[in-house]
Symmetry: C2
C-alpha cells in the first residue's frame, strides 16, 4: 500500500509510547475546571459559595444543629475577591481538615448511600485549587469543636500528587464551634443576576426554611434570610443497598469489603429489606454453598445472586432515609420569599429509580404576586427553581431532567396559555440517596425516565389545582368587570333620573347600586342552582345507566 | 444555647473524621459513570463507539495514515452486546496497551496543547470499566505494528488503585498493523435513532471526508461510508503556550518542568511567539534577575512575568497548528451524504479565546433536498449537526455553545421564517488546541463568549448567502407559477380563437406560447435594466456625496 510510506516515523507505536504519561485527578480537574462549574466569572463565584454552603449545611444536618451561616464577599481588586464562610457546625479535626480542603476525592460522603448535598468529596478542595491557581495563595481555615480550643491552618494542594499541604498551624483558645474558611480568588466577578451568589443564597433559604443565612455583599450591604422554621429536618440515614438496585459488580465489591465470614450473613447484613423468607428463596436459586467466604465469590456466582434478587420479592427500598422539605415548609418559605397570589404545593410519595434508589419529588406552583422573573423592563417571565437534595441548581438548565419535565407539561391545559410569559414560579425539589448529576459540577440532573415522569406527574397534579384557581380568578375578574361597568353609569343615570322624578339623587344612587348587586347575586344563585341541577342530572344519568345494566 | 444539647454524639468532628476516606479516580467515575456519557442504554452504546473511533482517528492522524475503520456490533442477548472496532493505525506497544485501555487519566494527549479528538485519557479505559461493571469480563485487544508480529491481551481495571490488570498475553505472527478491540457490554441497546451509533458514524464520515468506515449493525446489515477525499488532513501540531493565555499558576508549573537553566531561556524556549524584542521588554518590566533558576521562581515573580506578558505585544497564537475540515471537504461530504438543494459553506479565519487558545469555526447551511430531520410522519424539522475537533456531538445539545449560537441567530432575517420547521441542516464545526467541554463525557462545549460570537458570525455570513438563494428561489417559483397560469389557458383560448379566426389551432397555440415567453423575458429584461439603473443611481449618490465632502 502506498500510504504505508507516508507513516511518520516520529509517531509510530514506540514514539507514542514515550509520550504516555499518567496524571493525578487534581491535574485533571485543574485542566478541566469548567467540569467543576469553575468557569465564567459570575458562575465561578456562585460555585464557590455553593461548595462551602453545602458542606456547612451537610455537617450541621448530620450533627442535628440548626444551621446559622455567615457569608461575606469582599472585593480586593478588579475581578479579585475574598470569600469568607463561617458555620456553627460540629467543626473538623486537625486530622481531616487537610483532606477536606486539600485533597480531591476524599471525604465522608462518597461511599455512603445517603441523602446529602455533597456526594463526591471534590467541592471544597476544588475551590482550594482554584484559589491557588488564580492567586497562588492557600485557603485559611479555622475550626473549633466548642470545647474552648480552636486551631487555624493554611491549606493548599500539591496537584501532581493530589495531596494536601498544610502550613502555619496554630492552636488558640476561643469558644467557637464550627468551621470558618477564608479564601481569595481571581477571575471571578460579583454581579447581581439570576445566577449570582445572592440568588443562590435566596434559593437556598427557600429550600431550607430551618437555615439562617447572613450575607454581606461586596458593597457592604447585608442580606439576612432568617429561618422560618425551627424544626431541624429529620436526619438523613445511610441506607444499605437494595437488592433490586445492585449490579453484579456491586455485589462483588461489597463482598470484598464485608465483615461477614459467610455469603449468607453477607446477604443478610449488607443489604436492605433482606428477610428470612427472601434468604431462603435465594439459597434455593443458586447452585453454590452460601456458607462460602464472600471474598471468594466468582463473577458467575455473583451473577446468580443478582438473578435471584431480580426474581425474589422484596419490600421497596426504605424511604424513611429521605428527608424531603415538606409541604408546610415549602408553603412557608414560598410565602415569605416569593409571595405569590396563589400557591399550590404537592409533595409526592417516595419512589424508586433504577430498581434500588429512593427518591422523592415535591413541587410548588406560585402564580401572581411577586412570582416569576421580572425583566429590567418590568415584564414578567416564568421562573423555574430547581433543587436537588435541597441545593439550588442555577446553571445548565438546558440539560436537566427537571427542565425537561417542566417543558413536557402542556401548560395550556392548566390555564397558563403562554407559560413562558406568565408571572409564575415553578419550584421543583428532588431528594434522593443518590442524585444522578450529569457532571462533577452538579448543576443538572441526568434525565432518567423514572425521575422525569415523577416530576411531570407532580407538576400536573399541582397544575390542576392552579388551573381551578385560575378559572375561578378569571370568573371573578369578569364579574368584577361587569360590576364596574354597571357602577360606572350609576352616577349619570341617577342624576338624570333625579331631574325627572325629583327624588333625591343620593337615594336613587343607593337604590340603583343595590339593584346591581342584587342582580349579580341573583345570577350567582342561578349559577348555583344550575350547577346543582346539572349534578343531579349527572347522578340521574348514572343511576339510569346502572339500572339499565 | 438549647440546641447545643441536640448535637448527635455520633457525628461530632471526631466521629466524622473516622468516616473520612480517600478514593481513586476509577472509583469516582465508576460511581458517576453518567459523567462519562455512560448512562442510558442507547447513549452508552454510542459513547462506546465514540471513544474507540476517536482514539483510532487520532492515532491515524498522528501517524499520517488514511484511516480505515471497521466496526461491528453483535447482539448477544437482551441489552447485551459485543462491540468490535478495528483500525489501521500505528498500533500500540505492549508497554502502553494496558494503560491505554486499563487506566484512567493516562495517555499521550492530556499534557499536550494540540488539536486532537481525545484530550483526557479517560475514554477507552472508561469503556473497559463499563464492560467490567456490567459483564465482569475484560476487553480483548490485538495490536500489530505491521512488522509481522502481533500480540493479543485481555485488560481490566483494578478500581481501588486505578491500575490495569493484564492477562492471557500471547504473541503471534500476522501481517497486521493497527489496533483491534473487542468488548462486551450489558445495559446497552442498539436502536436506530438520532443518537444511535449509526448516526454517530454517519456524522463522523461527514466531518472526516478522508475516512472510510465499514459498520455492521446487529441485524448484520453493512453500512459503508467511503472516503470522498484521499487527502490526509494536515497533521495537527502541538503548540507552545501563548504568553497571553497563561496564568501565574501555569508559568510556575511550566517553570518546574522546564529543561532551561535560566528564566530567560525558559521564557525564550517554552512559550509561543517569544521574540528578542519581547524578551527585552519583559526584562525591563520585572524587578528580579532573569538569569535565576526557573525552579526558584516565586508566585510574586511569576506574577510579574504574567503582568509583563499582558503589557507586551505578541503575535497572535500560531494558527497553523489547527487542522480545520476545509470548505471544499465540507461541501463534498455534505453533497454526498446530506444532498441539499442549496448549500452555503463558510470557513472563518482562526481566532483566539481566553487570550491564548487558537480555534476555528466552519459552518454549512444546507436547504432542501434531503436536508433537515425527517420525522416518522414525513414532516421536516431543522437539524443542527455539532462537531468539536471533527467529532460529532449527539447529546446535551441544550447546554452547548453551538446550540446557543444557532438559537441566537434571527433566522427570519435570512428567509427562514419558521426555522424549527424548515428542511434545513445547520452544520457547525469547531476545532481548537483545547476544546472547553462542559463535562468529561465531552458532549457539549462550554459557552465561552468568544466562541459563541464567532459561531454566530459564521452562521450569519452563511445565512446571508442562503437568504439570497431563498429569495431567488421564491422569485423563480413565482415566475414559474405565472408562466403556468398563462400556459394553462392557452389551449382553451387557442381553440376558441381557432373557431373565430379559422386559423389553425396548433399555430395559434405556438404563437400564444411565444407571446407569453416573450412577455416574461421582457419583464426579466426590464428588471435587469431597472437594477442597473438603481446601481448607477447608487454610484451617482456616492460620488455626489464624495464631492460634497
Amino acid at each position: 500500500m502506498a500510504k504505508e510510506q507516508q507513516i511518520d516515523i516520529t509517531t509510530t507505536a514506540e514514539a507514542l509510547a514515550k509520550e504516555f504519561k499518567e496524571h493525578s485527578v487534581a491535574e485533571f480537574f485543574k485542566k478541566n475546571r469548567q467540569m467543576l462549574g469553575l468557569y465564567g466569572k459570575i458562575r465561578s463565584l456562585t460555585t464557590i459559595i455553593h461548595e462551602y454552603v453545602t458542606n456547612s449545611l451537610d455537617a450541621c444536618e448530620e450533627a442535628n444543629i440548626l444551621p446559622e451561616i455567615e457569608i461575606k464577599i469582599d472585593e480586593l481588586g478588579p475581578e479579585y475577591y475574598e470569600v469568607t464562610v463561617k458555620d456553627n457546625g460540629p467543626g473538623l479535626t486537625k486530622e481531616v481538615v487537610g483532606k477536606a480542603f486539600g485533597q480531591l476525592l476524599a471525604g465522608t460522603k462518597f461511599h455512603r448511600l445517603m441523602q446529602m448535598r455533597g456526594q463526591q468529596g471534590i467541592g471544597a478542595a476544588g475551590c482550594t485549587m482554584f484559589s491557588q491557581m488564580t492567586t497562588g495563595k492557600p485557603v485559611k481555615v479555622i475550626s473549633g469543636t466548642g470545647n474552648g480550643k480552636c486551631f487555624a491552618v493554611e491549606i493548599s494542594i500539591d496537584a501532581k500528587t493530589n495531596q494536601p499541604k498544610l502550613s502555619n498551624y496554630k492552636e488558640f483558645k476561643r469558644n467557637f464551634r464550627g468551621v470558618a474558611v477564608r479564601a481569595k480568588f481571581k477571575e471571578v466577578l460579583y454581579k447581581e443576576s439570576e445566577q449570582s451568589p445572592l440568588e443562590y443564597i435566596r434559593r437556598t433559604a427557600i429550600a431550607n426554611p430551618h437555615v439562617t443565612i447572613k450575607f454581606t455583599d461586596p458593597s457592604g450591604k447585608k442580606h439576612i434570610f432568617k429561618r422560618t422554621s425551627n424544626k431541624i429536618p429529620k436526619k438523613p440515614k445511610a441506607v444499605k443497598p437494595h437488592p433490586k438496585g445492585v449490579t453484579v459488580d456491586d455485589v462483588l465489591s461489597y463482598a470484598r469489603s464485608t465483615k461477614a465470614q459467610k455469603v449468607i450473613s453477607f446477604l443478610k447484613n449488607d443489604f436492605d429489606r433482606m428477610g428470612a423468607k427472601a434468604l431462603e428463596e435465594i439459597s434455593k436459586k443458586v447452585n453454590f454453598d452460601l456458607n462460602k467466604d464472600p471474598r471468594s465469590l466468582t463473577w458467575e456466582e455473583a451473577e446468580q445472586i443478582v438473578k435471584a434478587f431480580r426474581e425474589t420479592d422484596f419490600l421497596a427500598p426504605s424511604t424513611d432515609t429521605l428527608s424531603p422539605i415538606g409541604e408546610e415548609q415549602i408553603k412557608k418559605s414560598f410565602q415569605t420569599i416569593v409571595k405569590p397570589e396563589f400557591l399550590s404545593v404537592v409533595s409526592r410519595k417516595p419512589k424508586v429509580y433504577a430498581g434500588g434508589f429512593a427518591f422523592q419529588v415535591e413541587v410548588g406552583i406560585g402564580v401572581g404576586g411577586e412570582a416569576g422573573r421580572t425583566l429590567a423592563n418590568g415584564e414578567k417571565k416564568a421562573e423555574i427553581m430547581r433543587f436537588a437534595n435541597k441545593v439550588p441548581l442555577l446553571f445548565d438548565a438546558g440539560s436537566c431532567a427537571i427542565t425537561k419535565a417542566v417543558q413536557s407539561v402542556d401548560w395550556k391545559r392548566y390555564g397558563l396559555k403562554d407559560f413562558e410569559n406568565s408571572p409564575v414560579t415553578v419550584f421543583v425539589s428532588l431528594v434522593s440517596v443518590y442524585v444522578p448529576y450529569t457532571g462533577a459540577g452538579k448543576q443538572a440532573v441526568a434525565d432518567i425516565d423514572e425521575i422525569v415522569e415523577e416530576i411531570k406527574l407532580a407538576l400536573m397534579d399541582s397544575g390542576r389545582r392552579t388551573s381551578r384557581y385560575l378559572a375561578a380568578l378569571r370568573k371573578e375578574r369578569e364579574k368584577q368587570m361587569r360590576r364596574e361597568a354597571f357602577m360606572k353609569y350609576i352616577p349619570e343615570v341617577s342624576s338624570a333620573l333625579a331631574k325627572i322624578t325629583k327624588v333625591k339623587e343620593d337615594k336613587l344612587k343607593k337604590k340603583l347600586e343595590k339593584l346591581v348587586l342584587d342582580k349579580l347575586k341573583l345570577e350567582e344563585l342561578e349559577e348555583k342552582i344550575e350547577k346543582a341541577r346539572a349534578e343531579a342530572r349527572g347522578k340521574e344519568v348514572k343511576s339510569n345507566a346502572k339500572e339499565s345494566n
